[in-house]
Subunit: 328 residues, 2 copies
């Protein structure tokens, strides 16, 4: 193996920590440092020897870093940091606001093309690996239907919505794919299904001392957009049980393509993820795509790229002949 | 949509018929003709207006065909036809003799590079989509183990082996993935499993009039390599039942990557196919990759390519902006 790929991490929440772990598992990568908007002395990286730099000084390290992995959030951080950092570095990010992807792509493409860098956006599992499977599915089975189911997984947005209800001290919400709906899809029935027909919702709620459980349950189950259209179950538990049993961030889901070939033959392609940690998995995907971003950049393929533009072989530390021999 | 991609089919068995069907489902492709070593007048394509040409005359049609899809067998046909046709056309094939892929790749690469064509080899589901999933799996979850299970599916080789036993009039054999083994893998246990621990075998046998069922069953279950190491069940049925219930060619299987991230977090990625017709599905994969082969060829990326070298977006008739908007 030649020189190691030099990686920087921008942002150090759950995603940044996951990337720090993931880099340590990759044989051909080394972590140059973590960049943060916070006071660097307040950060405590997992690796004892890892250096923390002010994000504002990132431009001083353009010659020390091959790929900067952006670990900020899609709402406030990435729309600004993405194009700014793509002017300095080849980047990878997990931008996941579906409706804004075309605008974000355009901003990154302009910045990266002008700077001669490569900016890989919207990497993770959805968008990301799920997107790739939607694409393989509809390309191969041209006559068919694609279904994405999410869960079982912790939904941060829905958990927050429950926590805002008066009388609720703490809460988590799990999105659960409907077994009935999945069975129909797997049987090749190609049903028409709304998001609420594909999923049920399960809440674990800690009440405040004087709260009325019946009122809280009613408020949850009738909440427009979030719960009203769904089959929802509400479980009341203690803060202790919530901390012990519901502190992890599991997630996952299914992409199923059901199609017909020949006269009328059923064919089903299914992809699924069962993740005990949603952020750590997303970080692992980001890190594998950092390798692809570096290879693209070195070979002069600059500008914004998505998972659709990236040949699978670029994700691996193995060379093409090894891949053909071992994995094909 | 611009001009349609012009496709030729070389070889007209189950795979060639499947490709003929698959082309009719793709909005941007048209079938120019079928090329055969048999007497063209003896072939009856599904499409009434489809022309059949002698394969020996293929060189007269180099300007009429964008991609030739090779539907011959891996043992006798492709090693010879692949390089010969890659000198004339951009090609796609389903070469699946794993051990001989490096040599076949080299022969195709030499022919295609010299001719300025693109030769995409070993396309289908295994090798093919399963290979891609093995690659995504180990690239993302660097610390883990990959498992491929095949079935439930009809195995031609094992069916033939049973048919050769004295006293057997007809037979089919299904390979079935072991539920126990899959459960362990899905639970993140990362067990070490041999092929025989991952699968069981199920035979449906029609006896000749004077045959001894006990002897036939014993002969099957103790057959070295094919059955001796497996848990095998043998069912005796009538020729009528065999024709009615066991004439289809279903197949499928699972690629599961189980890995650890962070401190010790389990993550499981699973890909599966449930195919009512193995050859029709392989044909559909070949046809989608024909589109990619054409795009690569037009953009000057010549030589031999595998599924690892091909960005997913190239498989789709949609343009990159559409893909980002609809599928990312």
């Amino acid at each position: 193996m030649g020189e190691k790929m030099r990686i920087g991490i921008a942002g150090y929440g759950n995603l940044g920590k996951g990337v720090e772990y993931a880099i340590s598992q990759q044989p051909d990568m080394e972590l140059v440092g973590i960049f943060t908007r916070r006071d660097p002395s307040t950060l405590h990286p997992i690796g004892e020897k890892v250096t923390v730099y002010p994000l504002a000084d990132a431009d001083q390290y353009v010659h020390d870093i091959d790929v900067m992995i952006l670990c900020g959030g899609s709402r406030a951080d990435l729309p600004e940091q993405g194009p700014a950092l793509a002017k300095l570095f080849t980047t990878v990010d997990s931008f996941d606001t579906h409706a804004k992807i075309p605008d974000y792509f355009a901003a990154l493409d302009e910045a990266a093309s002008a700077a001669g860098t490569t900016a890989v956006l919207s990497v993770g599992w959805d968008p990301g690996l799920f997107s790739v499977n939607r694409l393989y599915g509809e390309s191969v089975l041209a006559d068919g239907a694609t279904y994405t189911f999410w869960g079982k997984g912790l939904s941060q947005g829905h958990s927050d919505a429950v926590r805002r209800i008066p009388g609720v001290q703490n809460a988590v919400q799990y999105t659960i794919p409907s077994e009935d709906a999945m069975a129909k899809v797997r049987a090749g029935e190609q049903p028409e299904l709304t998001t609420s027909e594909k999923h049920t919702r399960e809440c674990y709620v800690v009440l405040e001392a004087d709260a009325d459980a019946a009122v809280v349950e009613e408020t949850i189950c009738t909440m427009p957009d979030y719960f009203a259209d769904y089959s929802t179950t509400v479980n009341f538990i203690s803060e202790k049980e919530l901390q012990e049993k519901h502190s992890a961030m599991p997630h996952g889901g299914f992409v199923i393509r059901s199609g017909k070939t020949g006269e009328n033959t059923n064919q089903v392609m299914e992809y699924s993820l069962k993740l005990d940690s949603n952020p750590e998995f997303t970080s692992s995907v980001l890190t594998a795509y950092a390798r692809a971003a570096h290879k693209l950049s070195v070979s002069g393929q600059h500008g914004a790229k998505t998972v659709f533009d990236i040949a699978p072989g670029l994700l691996s530390p193995k060379d093409p002949a090894e891949l053909r021999k071992e994995l094909l």
